[in-house]
């Protein structure tokens, strides 16, 4: 059981490093290509979209890693509700972030993208606090 947990943790760290590496390489490449080979505006948009994609990948996977039931403090119902809520909020926020960078006018793309992600983060935090309060009242 412990070996499985160690293997899972190692896999997660490996995946994180790969995603981080791909993200940094993509950003570096886009910077290098701009402005000679790639339009500066397009490079900026793509950098934002790549950042949104990384956030999207992580947010999408949030509900897929529930805590083990054997862990003493784990209330499986609340844990599941929290993870699903946070996962949905952040996934939609990341999607909005990506879309804003790709399609909004470049002057307002960054601000709009941050609005999407910030709102989703605040909603996720408020939701988690709400679920914890509801759970402690029972």
């Amino acid at each position: 059981m412990k070996t499985d947990q160690i293997r899972d943790a190692q896999g997660e760290i490996g995946r994180g490093l790969i995603i981080g590496g791909v993200f940094l390489t993509a950003v570096k490449m886009l910077s290098a290509l701009s402005p000679e080979y790639l339009d500066a505006e397009l490079a900026r948009r793509l950098q934002g979209a790549v950042a949104g994609m990384v956030s999207f990948i992580y947010a999408n996977a949030v509900p897929k890693s529930p805590l083990p039931l054997s862990r003493g403090a784990c209330d499986p119902k609340a844990d599941q509700a929290r993870r699903r809520f946070v996962g949905w909020c952040l996934t939609l926020g990341s999607l909005g972030y990506m879309m804003a960078w790709l399609f909004a006018p470049i002057e307002s793309a960054g601000g709009l993208a941050m609005c999407f992600l910030g709102t989703s983060l605040l909603t996720a935090m408020a939701g988690v606090i709400g679920i914890i309060r509801l759970d402690s009242q029972r």
Binding site: N60, V62, P63, P68, L69, P76, K77, Q80, R84, T91
Partner: protein, 104 residues
């Protein structure tokens, strides 16, 4: 990904996933609303486990099933439910086909 589509193509399995969206449940609790035999339910559980959409944890003598779906997989479940995707008899998964052939 093919395993996920296969798992979501059956209405019984989709209903199991919808029940698990509310809270984690034991095998008995999940089997109650369905008029199917235990081996058929076990076959459905194994298809869902194989697709990594649910997680089984044994505590004592009880197996508790929990949802293990990513946001996109949940969206796919909602879509499959809304559209009413259904498998035809001859396209059933091998496990279910075996159970049906045995007449269990």
């Amino acid at each position: 990904m093919n395993a996920v589509f296969k798992a979501l193509a059956d209405p019984t399995r989709r209903r199991i996933l919808q029940l698990l969206q509310r809270r984690p449940m034991t095998a008995g609790e999940l089997a109650d609303p369905f008029a199917v035999s235990k081996p058929t339910m076990s076959a459905h559980f194994s298809v869902l486990l194989n697709a990594d959409l649910i997680q089984a944890e044994k505590i004592g003598r009880t197996i508790t099933y929990r949802l293990k779906m990513s946001v996109l997989e949940e969206a796919l479940l909602g879509f499959a439910h809304a559209v009413g995707v259904n498998v035809t008899h001859n396209r059933r998964t091998p496990v279910l086909a075996r159970v049906k052939a045995k007449g269990l």
